[in-house]
Symmetry: C2
Subunit: 466 residues, 2 copies
């Protein structure tokens, strides 16, 4: 047996980057492997990871594979638009559904309170936001997380029983999820506003756009939302903060059905849709929720199937479990603010839209979106880094959401709490930013990094089950 000597020696450096820098400074090629001590070296956490990546790995990996399959293979179809009161049999009277994990009125942030008050006024339970506030303080309105009804609502959205809901059926997994109609840009309650114009917008969405869209969806038949999202990503959407291309694809598909509606509501709804480049956001969220609902039926997985914020807390749920693991809602780190605003007036991260980051959209699809790159530092390399960070903490990749400028690679899918805790990398969530107190609506957009605590708590709960 002969041994060949290598013709050249190269350096691979694992861990601390300083050594690699030193080699590079001498003009020699070096491969840097970004390795850090798992879980910051905390012995208890390392022990948990050793069990869940060790003896229990096969069991957890098998469950995760099924979760990833469901997130990837469910087929969410928009099948109708109907009031929450009829769409949700379990919805009590005088109930308002809100974004994020469970929260009491007293704990709610200013933007969410304004949105809840606007919903109470539109339901006719109070005449003014101030009266609505009194009712809420007295506990005379029931507050429930929308997520507990398989409803997902973006930003500070709050909805009452008369609110029209978009109905999305996952025709493979037989799960159903809902979202309200997106309220559009500008002066609207979902941006934490309860001004007369914002309340009027909510009424218009219910009384004008709702019935027209119900007729349009009846006529246009079931609409394949994942197919639209996949095309949108090919056209620069992350399908979270940027949904312009996907919205436009849908609008052109709906055009003849809108044109066929009789009566004056047709033109008003058309004007609303023309001004709403965010229209698809809520549909993407309901589609994602129909997938996570199916995935959440799998037991023993380490993949997150709920991720939501209410402006006060950030929470996740694991597949197969009901409890929320929560922590304080994070600030939005990488952000572009509207002129005259800055981080000092930005409310913490809010809304159920982070469900998109669980199914390969939003931050997971950042690498394909020049618009998201603008929030992240301005170059596509920054956006690519966000997607790659998600890739490191995900259990799989999408077969239908693909990145054309990254060799048609599928976006990362199925956030695995084991990887999150091991690497100390949490999901990057692309999102809007609301004013924290003035009721003046959206002040910017950016990317929030989820807090690590809930992922560590979820990991511990999974470990205890073993």
């Amino acid at each position: 047996m002969s041994v060949e000597l290598p013709s050249s020696v190269e350096v691979v450096n694992v861990g601390l980057g300083l050594l690699a820098d030193a080699v590079r400074a001498q003009g020699r090629p070096v491969v840097q492997v970004d390795w850090r001590i798992p879980a910051g070296g905390d012995p208890h956490t390392v022990a948990m990871l050793r069990r869940l990546f060790g003896p229990r790995a096969a069991e957890v990996d098998a469950a995760n594979a099924e979760v990833v399959r469901r997130l990837d293979e469910g087929v969410p179809m928009l099948v109708g638009v109907e009031p929450a009161s009829s769409a949700l049999p379990g919805l009590g009277e005088r109930t308002v559904l809100h974004c994020g994990p469970p929260i009491a009125w007293e704990e709610m942030c200013d933007p969410l309170r304004r949105s809840v008050r606007a919903a109470v006024v539109v339901e006719g339970w109070a005449d003014t936001p101030a009266e609505a506030g009194t009712l809420l303080e007295r506990g005379e309105v029931r507050l429930e997380p929308a997520n507990h009804h398989c409803v997902v609502v973006p930003m500070a959205t709050a909805i009452g029983p008369s609110s029209p809901l978009q109905v999305v059926d996952n025709t493979v997994g037989s799960t159903r999820a809902f979202s309200p109609i997106n309220q559009g840009p500008g002066e609207a309650p979902w941006f934490g506003m309860d001004s007369p114009a914002a309340i009027a917008r909510l009424r218009m969405v219910r009384d004008v756009a709702g019935p027209v869209l119900a007729a349009v969806v009846r006529s246009a038949g079931p609409i394949d939302l994942a197919a639209l999202a996949g095309q949108g990503v090919q056209m620069g959407d992350d399908v979270h903060v940027r949904v312009q291309a996907t919205t436009n694809l849908l609008i052109r598909q709906l055009l003849p059905h809108i044109a066929a509606v009789e009566g004056p509501c047709r033109v008003e709804t058309a004007r609303f849709l023309a001004q709403n480049h965010l229209f698809f956001l809520n549909l993407a969220m309901a589609a994602a929720r129909s997938l996570t609902e199916w995935a959440s039926q799998v037991q023993g997985a380490s993949v997150v199937t709920s991720m939501a914020r209410n402006g006060t807390t950030f929470g996740i749920r694991l597949a197969g479990r009901d409890e929320w693991f929560v922590d304080a809602a994070p600030p939005i780190g990488h952000a572009l603010y509207h002129s005259g605003y800055g981080p000092e007036v930005g409310a913490p991260d809010i809304g159920d839209s982070a469900v998109l980051e669980l199914v390969g959209l939003g931050g997971a699809a950042a690498a394909g979106s020049p618009s998201v790159a603008a929030f992240l530092g301005g170059t596509m390399a920054d956006a690519l880094a966000a997607t790659e960070a998600m890739d490191r903490i995900c259990a799989g990749r999408s077969s239908r959401i693909r990145l054309p400028f990254s060799g048609m690679r599928g976006t990362p899918l199925g956030v695995d709490v084991r990887r999150v805790v091991e690497l100390g990398i949490t999901p990057h969530i692309t999102t809007g930013i609301l004013h924290s107190s003035a009721g003046s609506g959206q002040v910017g957009a950016g990317v929030a990094e989820a807090p690590l605590g809930p992922f560590r708590a979820a990991l511990a709960a999974l470990d205890e089950d073993g």
Copy 2:
């Protein structure tokens, strides 16, 4: 003075790639500079280039800079839709306008003949395509290039006086250009079809879509077409073979104005637009033509301001000159064919849409378009190579058509015949492919390379003026 010796020696190879390959095979880094003998070493051509890049360079460069400025700074606005007979005062009776350089009926290819016959039937000058053919053979219909009326028509489009034209004003340069309404995919005369369904489509465009779009544009006001095209390129359009994103942006903008049209034509037009992902193509062409018309008023430049094909000949015109420099229309080299078809039935390159390649769109914007990449070999590197080839033969770069995945670089603009002839690189034109004889319409799409002859002839004409 001290001289530092280099610490390592690298290889730069200029010219023949074999040497670079040999160095690379030994595992050493090498930079290959792709240099070839200018103009293939032809002494006459080299002498022309020496004059136009030498003593006359300052004069030609100054003229080119003004041409590039006009292509880049003109502001094309869609201002109306009206019949050709009223839009074009110089249009005679019994005249059909066709794509490409001037051509007699006898020389026309099969797809263009079919399209001209369909137009003659729709004008009511004949009852059937066969009768129309008889009229045309007898010379009883006048045939003129659309370009001579500042009209641009895609593929095999032919139009008579009753055809509605989209009117585009360049509000900075005070030039006006026109294009017919895109006839949509499938069975339509612009794909070289004269079947009853194709003729019915042409009638519908004139009698239904034309009046509705005239009302819509009146209501929606002047529409900034360059702004839309710029956004479309950010969303993966090359704005030639792929205009889906730009079409959708426009459709959402027009939506309330379409919804406000009274009468049954509204729904039929909405259905037509919903099925026509190519709708913006003709608008982009008219916008480009309004820019090249302004640019063509500059004297002494070496930049091309017309580039068009009629399926038999390919022709260009230089800024400041009326004459066409023509050669045989090229085949479409890099192509994807519809199932059941191949190059043996593909007609040569046809249509006025190559005007887009003169203003930074089409092949010039290939690097931003995953769809175009599919025609060019399948990877974004192939698409990037197409844009870089255009960059080498262009006099400037667009300040408003930018490539987000190439560091927001402006697309190349202003094809310079000096560079084309020196490098032997001709424009890459993204285009559809028609059946050469069967009247069965589009059989594929791909990228054509323009023939070199017309560029050399244009160079000679410019040289003779000196």
